[in-house]
């Protein structure tokens, strides 16, 4: 057989290979393709859904972890050390949850509530200037949670409690769980769960009810400062002159806040010194001394004077004592007083062997 004949034979034979492509077979194959497409669509949809759920779950987990890790004050005030007492501007109305973490839950209960975090408390201290707020706080003996309201200091002993101004000169503390300690100028009372305590309070708003010599200007800086509008408050204070500030701890502290938080720390110093000179026995004198130390050390670069201010804050005792001693070590170190630095560092280690500032103290004091 020749090549060409052989090739021709395979061609003819190939023609005989012909599958029966009947319509029913054709449509069976077509239906199988449609089923396959539907199956693929389901698989893709399931995969996309599962991936989306996974991404959302991871995101939610990350958010929850982040919220649990960041202390309350860190969210109200991004860096309480570098921007001390930056106002949280929480004067909004209604019942509003202002901050929450794994350790502290703070809820504003009235539209006019003004609540600012206390400096260096890492979210475990607030100043209530107006309105009402509810605090839910797990107790930490090493870091007591405090609420300063006028000249009243409320310290938690593991609890959920509400602090409310019921009148300009009356403060109501209602305890839902646990206990709190309420310190006023004259008393020191523990309030347990289910009880309420009403105490007189001296606060900034009270002054507005008093006769004023130049009420138009003099009265106007306080509400601005209470609302956290420190720049405007400071401008009004300068216009009004020194007589605009009463010789009253709350008024002096508010004026100091307006000065330093509007970027004029040097002008805050006289107000704070007036508190220390004229109201040394006031429960907030320690807070004033501590604030003065921070202004002198962090903002004015006067560490030697800061050492004395922190020493004063420490001697006042209370929940600020540990922080005050730690900052005293830092101030002494920056002032170049090595002997005192070491002495204070050793004192800190003795008083607070597991203190939360141990590392910083060891670094400044150069002790193991």
């Amino acid at each position: 057989m020749t090549n060409q004949a052989s090739d021709q034979r395979w061609g003819e034979l190939g023609d005989k290979v012909e599958p029966d492509w009947a319509p029913e077979r054709k449509w069976a194959v077509r239906a199988a393709i449609v089923r396959r497409a539907a199956r693929r669509h389901r698989v893709v949809r399931t995969a996309v859904g599962a991936t989306s759920v996974g991404v959302i779950a991871v995101g939610a987990l990350a958010l929850v972890s982040w919220r649990a890790a960041v202390p309350t004050a860190a969210r109200l005030d991004s860096d309480p050390h570098t921007a001390p007492s930056a106002p949280a501007a929480m004067a909004s109305g209604g019942e509003e949850r202002t901050s929450e973490s794994a350790t502290v839950t703070v809820t504003k209960l009235s539209p006019g509530t003004v609540l600012t975090p206390l400096p260096d408390r890492d979210g475990r201290g607030f100043a209530l200037r107006a309105g009402a707020a509810r605090f839910s706080v797990p107790h930490d003996a090493t870091r007591p949670f405090v609420v300063a309201a006028g000249d009243v200091m409320v310290e938690d002993l593991g609890t959920t409690f509400t602090v409310r101004y019921v009148a300009a000169d009356q403060l109501n503390i209602a305890v839902e769980e646990g206990r709190v300690r309420v310190r006023t100028r004259d008393t020191d009372t523990e309030v347990s769960a289910g009880s309420t305590l009403q105490v007189p309070v001296s606060r900034m708003g009270k002054v507005a009810q008093r006769p004023q010599r130049s009420s138009g200007v003099v009265a106007s800086w306080r509400p601005l400062a209470e609302r956290g509008q420190y720049d405007e408050a400071q401008r009004m204070l300068r216009k009004a002159g020194p007589s605009a500030v009463r010789d009253d701890t709350a008024d002096l502290l508010l004026a100091a806040d307006a000065a330093r938080l509007s970027g004029h720390p040097a002008e805050a110093v006289p107000y704070l010194e007036r508190v220390l000179r004229g109201h040394a026995h006031d429960p907030r004198a320690g807070l004033a001394a501590f604030t003065l130390g921070r202004v002198l050390l962090d903002e004015l670069g006067r560490p030697s004077e800061a050492v004395e201010a922190f020493a004063r804050a420490r001697s006042s005792g209370g929940p600020l004592a540990e922080d005050a001693l730690a900052r005293e070590v830092e101030a002494a170190s920056r002032a170049g007083d090595l002997a005192r630095t070491r002495e204070l560092a050793l004192l800190y280690q003795r008083l607070y062997p597991n203190g939360r500032r141990s590392r910083a103290v060891a670094t400044f004091g150069k002790v193991d």
């Binding site: 057989m1 020749t2 090549n3 060409q4 052989s6 090739d7 395979w10 061609g11 034979l13 190939g14 023609d15 005989k16 290979v17 012909e18 599958p19 029966d20 492509w21 077979r25 054709k26 069976a28 194959v29 077509r30 199988a32 393709i33 396959r36 497409a37």
Partner: protein
């Protein structure tokens, strides 16, 4: 003397418009039978396996319609995809045979063939079954399907020279076996 190509299926459908959009329904309607026949000739097996190949080919086509320029180009594109799908099946068949899992039985769909032609086809596919897959595919496309060598090279995804070499190697074996017939 080189074989004379028989371009039986090379002619496009007369009503096809060059550059027109490709719709899946039309593609399947026009070329379903072509793909089934091509698969049957390359595989040498019956309905079930052919249906699987047709399904695979048009499943791929349904997801890559954008790659098909028009209905005229579609035929060559489908031939290439069919060759690839059949190649995978033949290789699987080789592997199964290595483990004696599934011995090949000739089941060639040839309804119009005589008894003698059926016997010849059965013997041909037994020989092709023992041949390297690439040579088998090239020879089948060239002689059973009657494609020109450049179309064989395109469908097999190789150069023209390689296609020629594969076709020649397979032809030598076939001629040797069937030379006396």
């Amino acid at each position: 003397m080189p074989p004379t190509p028989k371009l039986r299926l090379a002619r496009p459908f007369p009503d096809l418009v060059k550059g027109g959009p490709v719709e899946f329904e039309e593609l399947f309607t026009r070329y379903g039978q072509y793909v089934a026949r091509l698969a049957a000739r390359m595989l040498g097996s019956g309905d079930g396996e052919v249906d699987d190949v047709v399904q695979d080919v048009f499943w791929i086509a349904s997801r890559r319609l954008s790659q098909i320029v028009d209905m005229i180009q579609a035929r060559g594109w489908l031939a290439t995809v069919t060759t690839r799908v059949v190649r995978r099946r033949l290789r699987r068949r080789h592997v199964r045979r290595l483990f004696h899992a599934s011995p090949y039985r000739a089941d060639v769909p040839a309804p119009g063939a005589t008894a003698e032609q059926r016997a010849l086809l059965a013997r041909l596919y037994e020989i092709l079954e023992r041949m390297p897959t690439e040579q088998r595919l090239a020879w089948s496309l060239r002689y059973l399907e009657g494609e020109p060598l450049d179309a064989v090279a395109a469908a097999c995804g190789c150069s023209l020279a390689t296609a020629k070499r594969r076709v020649s190697a397979a032809k030598n074996v076939i001629d040797e076996v069937f030379g006396d017939d």
